[in-house]
């Protein structure tokens, strides 16, 4: 539904451009028509966004053409040097990481990476990391800390991979270790959820001073399908589960789990990736500037304090 709408909006925008061109070329005053069309477009777009169900956002977050981590790195950074391997077992292509220049400073960028086509997806395991991915991320975060460089992470995974090798090599330990390391890392960390924030596999690179989320990204303890299978005993109830889980950026801002929503173009990030990347870059720059002013002790104290507050309980 969201996609059909976005096509309709594109047509309206094209029509607007035509009208404006016509008006200036022929010197005819069409301001009334233009204004009417602009108002209509604004209103319909606002309605469309308001009408998006949570599961519509899930679909947008999983859209195959959505920008992935490497797309943001390409658009926002210079001097990208990818670093490979966890130094224990292998390189996990489901997580990419390396040095980059962002806004004139060196940063460590780490992110989940999905594939654009089947071949790349098989190599990248659809963006579902093994323990090696988390251990590579840990190594790179410590490297950033050693040289006093900030860490930027892009979160986009349906979850850490549930397989035999992953269990044998300690998937749980790898994620747990990252949570501990990130809680105490003496350099700024900003995480940005760009697509799917799938449970512990997402959190494993997302404990941060600031957590940003794209407007149509999702972040959840379990996929709506997984939740439906357990609690409703049918994966068909995923829409209902998505509603119950409250997994949209708007939900998470209200629950004070994230710090800011980065706006997307009306049809979703993939319709105008350059514009989306600009908005992400602007938000990262703003938060980074704030965090760079803090001493490491203060940074760690505030980060821990932030996570200590999280949750909802009553006390008798």
């Amino acid at each position: 539904m969201a996609l059909e709408r976005s096509e309709k909006f594109e047509k309206m925008r094209e029509r607007l451009t035509e009208l404006k061109e016509l008006s200036s070329r022929e010197g005819i005053d069409m301001s009334e028509q233009i204004e009417r069309l602009e108002d209509q477009l604004d209103a319909e777009q606002a309605d469309a966004v308001a009408e998006l169900s949570r599961y519509d956002r899930v679909k947008l977050a999983r859209h195959q053409e959505r920008p992935f981590t490497l797309d943001y790195i390409e658009r926002l950074c210079d001097d990208w040097v990818e670093l490979h391997g966890d130094r224990h077992y292998r390189d996990d292509p489901s997580i990419v990481g390396g040095w980059a220049s962002f806004g004139g400073r060196s940063v460590m960028v780490i992110g989940h990476q999905k594939g654009r086509d089947m071949k790349e997806n098989l190599a990248r395991n659809f963006g579902s990391p093994h323990p090696e991915g988390y251990r590579k991320a840990e190594r790179l975060m410590k490297l950033a800390e050693k040289f006093g460089r900030p860490v930027l992470t892009f979160v986009d995974t349906q979850g850490a991979y549930p397989g035999i090798g992953a269990e044998e090599r300690g998937q749980a330990e790898a994620i747990a270790r990252n949570l501990l390391v990130m809680a105490g890392l003496r350099t700024p960390i900003i995480a940005c959820v760009i697509g799917e924030g799938g449970s512990g596999g997402a959190l494993g690179i997302a404990v941060a001073d600031r957590v940003l989320m794209l407007e149509n990204a999702i972040y959840s303890v379990i996929s709506p399908e997984g939740c439906a299978a357990i609690l409703w005993r049918s994966r068909d109830q995923a829409e209902q589960a998505a509603e119950a889980l409250k997994l949209t950026a708007q939900d998470l801002l209200e629950l004070e789990v994230i710090d800011e929503i980065v706006p997307e173009p009306p049809g979703g990030a993939h319709t105008r990736p350059a514009e989306t990347a600009r908005a992400v870059g602007e938000a990262l720059e703003r938060h980074l500037a704030e965090l760079e002013a803090l001493e490491p002790d203060e940074l760690v104290r505030l980060r821990r304090e932030k996570y200590f507050q999280m949750g909802a309980w009553e006390e008798a």
Binding site: L180, G184, L245, M310, G311
Partner: protein, 277 residues
């Protein structure tokens, strides 16, 4: 002429009704055991060594000289932040679990002594919504860790959990970060954290504090993993190897330090604390 004909005897298998609280059947070997004898043996089957599930306070009694001398934060209750309803409302689930198990949620925390040494202990309660970790479990662990730091006592947590409590949505996921951050404070203070894994320990609990022990002990035969076996089987569409994700499998793969039968647990904990305190 039918002297060689065997009289037909109907074979009946009579289901033996076990009087509750007196006899228990072992899930490991099927042996019928006298409850009193089982309790004396720390709820471990004397025939096959199967470890029966025991509750949080029983662990406190097992590990501490006098059980909990003080129990902490017993008044914390989940606030149902999402107003979560599936086939049943989360509030109803909490209420039912509170009535059946007690209202202290899926972990009991407190202080006590191990061979005279002061410790802070948390023991999870699997019967409370599968030992799932929501905001109350996270906050109780955070406070327990803070108390350990303030009073410079070692920290011990006995885990038994199916993972994060999905009825609390994103907050349950955030408890993984919260408890790990609390443990980082304990580590900074130079205090030992001993993690004891019991059947079962999976999901978000394994992927946070349970696997972060300075030393990790496991009870024999416990299921320990990140993903549950059913999810893995459905993902890879293959049968899982024998003994997969059991304590012995984790020891072999270098994920836990030792497997310790329940009867030896206190003694091992005591010796370990001696080395690390």
């Amino acid at each position: 002429m039918s002297w060689f004909k065997k009289p037909k005897q109907k074979i009946t298998s009579q289901k033996r009704e076990l009087p509750p609280d007196v006899w228990e059947k072992c899930d490991g070997c099927g042996e019928i055991l006298y409850s009193g004898r089982l309790a004396e043996n720390d709820h471990v089957c004397p025939t096959c060594g199967h470890h029966f599930r025991i509750d949080a306070l029983t662990y406190a009694g097992l590990l501490l000289d006098e059980g909990f001398e003080e129990e902490f934060d017993t008044g914390l209750r989940s606030a149902d932040p999402l107003g979560f309803v599936d086939s049943k409302s989360y509030r109803d689930r909490i209420e039912a679990a509170s009535e059946e198990v007690g209202p202290e949620d899926a972990i009991r925390t407190g202080s006590g002594r191990v061979d005279g040494r002061q410790v802070k202990l948390g023991a999870m309660e699997f019967r409370f919504i599968g030992g799932s970790m929501g905001s109350v479990v996270g906050e109780k662990i955070r406070r327990l860790a803070e108390r350990a730091v303030d009073e410079r006592d070692p920290l011990i947590i006995v885990s038994a959990s199916g993972g994060a409590r999905m009825q609390e949505g994103i907050y349950s996921l955030m408890q993984m970060a919260k408890t790990s951050a609390a443990l980082d404070r304990v580590a900074d203070a130079g205090l030992p954290f001993l993690s004891i894994l019991t059947h079962p320990t999976t999901g978000g609990v394994t992927a946070s504090y349970a696997m972060l022990g300075d030393v990790i002990l496991a009870e024999p035969g416990a299921l320990i993993g990140f993903a549950g076996p059913r999810v893995i089987r459905e993902t890879i569409r293959q049968d899982l190897p024998e003994g997969f994700q059991r304590s012995e499998f984790l020891l072999e793969h270098g994920m836990v330090d030792q497997i310790v039968p329940r009867g030896e647990l206190k003694e091992r904990v005591s010796v370990l604390l001696g080395h690390m305190c």
